[in-house]
Amino acid sequence: MDSSHSEDIPKHVRKYVVVFVALLALTMITVTVSYLHLEKTAAITVALIIATVKGSLVASYFMHLISEKKMIYMALILTALFFVVLMGLPLLHHADPILYK
């Protein structure tokens, strides 16, 4: 158990509430932006940036990742790398095919 937390819990609760409000705000922003019908690349970029920010807030504060131990970070960085590989390489394949005329 993370005994370091026991005394600071009230401070953490304040952080949770701030993050909660931020998440709701970002949700409203991303929905509003979608109604602007931006051009495809811009729309994807903005939506993914907002989602990444939201996800990072959940991970860092609700999941306490911001103060987690090295081993967890290592496992997650490894996972993130393989996630990128899994997504990227098939797309590269798709982008560089041998086409038969």
Partner: protein, 194 residues
Amino acid sequence: MEIPYTIAARPDTGLFNAKMGIWLFLASEVMLFGALFTTYILLRVGAPEWPHGELDVPLATINTAVLISSSITMVMAWASLMMKQFNKYKLYMGLTILAGVIFLVIKAFEYGHHFETGELPSKSTFLAIYFTMTGLHGLHVVGGMIVNSYFWGPGSRMWKTEPARFTNRVEVAGLYWHFVDLVWIFLFPVLYLL
């Protein structure tokens, strides 16, 4: 015979066993949903056209807010245990479960509407990936709710005999639940907004 480090953290890793275990499990879940996101991208890039306007954005926005709320109630449930306030824990955990119910009810409504209008997974690649991804996510929500309900109900008896171990269990269940919220944070814009 006792398994060490089920409650106290092991000094060199700084973790208790279940915390390491749940993070590793979540890593595997990242790869699972990652494969589905890859599928989505590949199929959409290869498609001559992609439907728009078939999904109910306002309803899904509400659902997003519901899940986000359930995340803060979940972490508050754990914080309450850390502050030895068992009644607050019951309140917050109860709210978390309720939020999960609301999420699933809204989803059932969405699905029902699609089925009524003949919008089945077999109708288009878009619907196929939509149902598969939200369906799998929904199954994860159900799983989380079963665990949370157990910890709200019969499992909460452990608070009286082994409070530290129980607090750890709730923390670990919370990590899983936050991950379910995290997946939806990406699913929602990708499927509904783009």
